[in-house]
Amino acid sequence: MEKIKVEICVGTTCFVLGASALQDIEMFLPEELKDKVEITGANCLGLCKNSHFGDAPFVRINESIIVSQATIDSVINEIKKLVK
C-alpha cells in the first residue's frame, strides 16, 4: 500500500498559530500507523491568505484532505480514517 502523505504547513502564519506544536507528531503516532505514513513539512499551503488565517494551522493529507486548526490529535484521527 502506498504511504499516506501528511504535509504539515510550516509557513509563518501556521507556525505562529500553532504548527510549532505539531513538529513532533511523529512521536505520537500509534505503532500500527508508523510505517504507513510519510510526514513532511510544507511551505505555506496557500490556505492562510485573506481572512482565512483564523483556521490555521493547516495540515494536508494525500494532497486533498485539509485539516484546519490542526492539533496532533485531530491529524492522527484523520489518518486513522484513511487506514480503516
Partner: protein, 478 residues
Amino acid sequence: MNNNAERFRRELLIRVIRGYLDGTLRKDIDRIPIELRPKTMEAASRCCVYKDRAVTKYRLMAMLGCGVEEEVDEAKSLAEYLDDAEKRTELSPNILSVLDIACQACVESQYIVTNACRGCFARPCTFTCPRGAITVVGRQAKIDKSKCIDCGKCTKVCPYSAIIRVPIPCEESCPVGAIKKDETGKEKIDFEKCISCGKCLKACPFSAVLERSQIIDILKALKSGKEVVAMVAPSIIGQFPNRLEQIAEALSLVGFSEMEEVAFGAEKTTRNETAEFFEKMAAGDPLMTTSCCPAYVEAVKRHVPQLLKYVSHTKSPMGYSAEMVKKRSPEAVTVFIGPCVAKRKEAQSDANTDYVMTYEELGALFAALEINLSELHGITLLREADGYARGFATSCGVTSAILQDKAMADSTEKPNAKFINGLDKKSMKLLPLYANGKLPGNFLEVMACEGGCVGGPCSLRDVNLAALAVKKQVEETK
C-alpha cells in the same frame, strides 16, 4: 504553543495589526468580539458567548495598550480606546493586570480527596495528619478545611494516591508572592512586590492576566515613515524555523529600517562584566552577580536588598545596543524585540529604548502582513555577532561568555561560577544566602526564566527546541 488561550490571543493580535495597517481597525474593532463569538456559536469558552465577548473586549483593550483597571466608563467603545492609543505619547508604568471578570477565583482549598478514595481499613491519612483534619465519613475520607495546614503529608501516604493538591496556578508560578486573592476571592497583583517576570501570564489557564501591549505605538512609528530600528534579542534564533538573514529581510518588509542584533550589546556586556568582576574581586568583594535579567534585578531590589551591592553595574545587552543605535542615529526609534515582559519595565528606565515588542507580537505582525519567512532569500548581515554573545539567550550563556572573554582567558584568577536557572519560590530563598556569604561561589548568574531567555513568557516556541537552535548557532559562529 499548545493551548487554546495562546492561540486565541495570537489570532486577535493578527486582526488588530492587520486592521490597523490597512486602516479598517477603527471601523471594525468593536465588531471583533461579536464576530469571534457569534450567538449561533455552540461552545462558548466561558458561561456564554456574551461573557466571552466581554472578556475579548478587555483583551483587545490591553492589546491597544490601555489598562483594564483604569476603565471608568463601561460603555466606552474600543474605537475610542484606539483613539486614546493613537494620541498617547507616553507609556503607562503598569504592565500587567488581572482581568477580574476572567479570573475564576480558583478554589482556596489546596488539598482535596478525589473519588479514588476507597475508605480503606488502614486509613494512613487519618493517622499521618498532624492536625487530625481527616476523618472517614461513609466510605470517603474528608478533610476539615478549618484544621488543614496544607502540609501535604496525606498525599504521600494514600495507597491509591487519592488525595491531590489543587494549586492556584498564578500564585504557584509567582516567585515572590505578588499575586494574591483579594476580599472577593479574585486575584490581585501587588505592584510593590511584582517583579514583572510574566510567569502568571503564562500560568493562568483562563488567560486572566493581561499584558499591556505597545504594538499600536510601534505600528504608528512604522507608518509615520520614521527610522525605526528592530533590536532583536539573542533568543530570536530558534523562534522561527528560519535563518537570521530571513528574519532580517522580513523585518525590512515590515518597515523597519534595520535589524540590530542585541548580541552586539551582549559582546559589550561580556567585556564590561568581566572587567567589573576583576575590579570587584580586587576591591575585596566576596561576590558579583549578573544584571542582564531585569526580572532578577527587580527581585533583588524589592525582596533581597542586601544583595543589591553585589549586582553588577554593567548594562544589559539591550542597554548597550540601544546606546549604540542612538549614537549612530539619534533620531531613530528603537524597538527591542524579545520574549520578555520585564524588559518593558527595564525599557521604561532606559532612555535609549523606546518600545518593547514580544516574539508573539512579531509573529502576529508577520502573519498579518502574510510574510512567509521560508520563501525569503534573506539579506546578508553586515556583521555577525560573536557566537558566545548569541549564547546569552540560554541559561549559563552569560557565564560561558565571560569565561571565554580575552581578559578572563589571560588571567590566572578564575571565577567560581554558580548559576540559578529560573526564579521560583525555592530559588528565591537562595538569594539571601548568597548575600550573606553562606553559599560558595564568587560569580552568580541568575535568569528568572527557566532555560534562560528562550524560556521567556512571550516566546513562540517550545523552550527546548529554541535552546537547541541557539546552541547550534553559537557553535557555528564561535
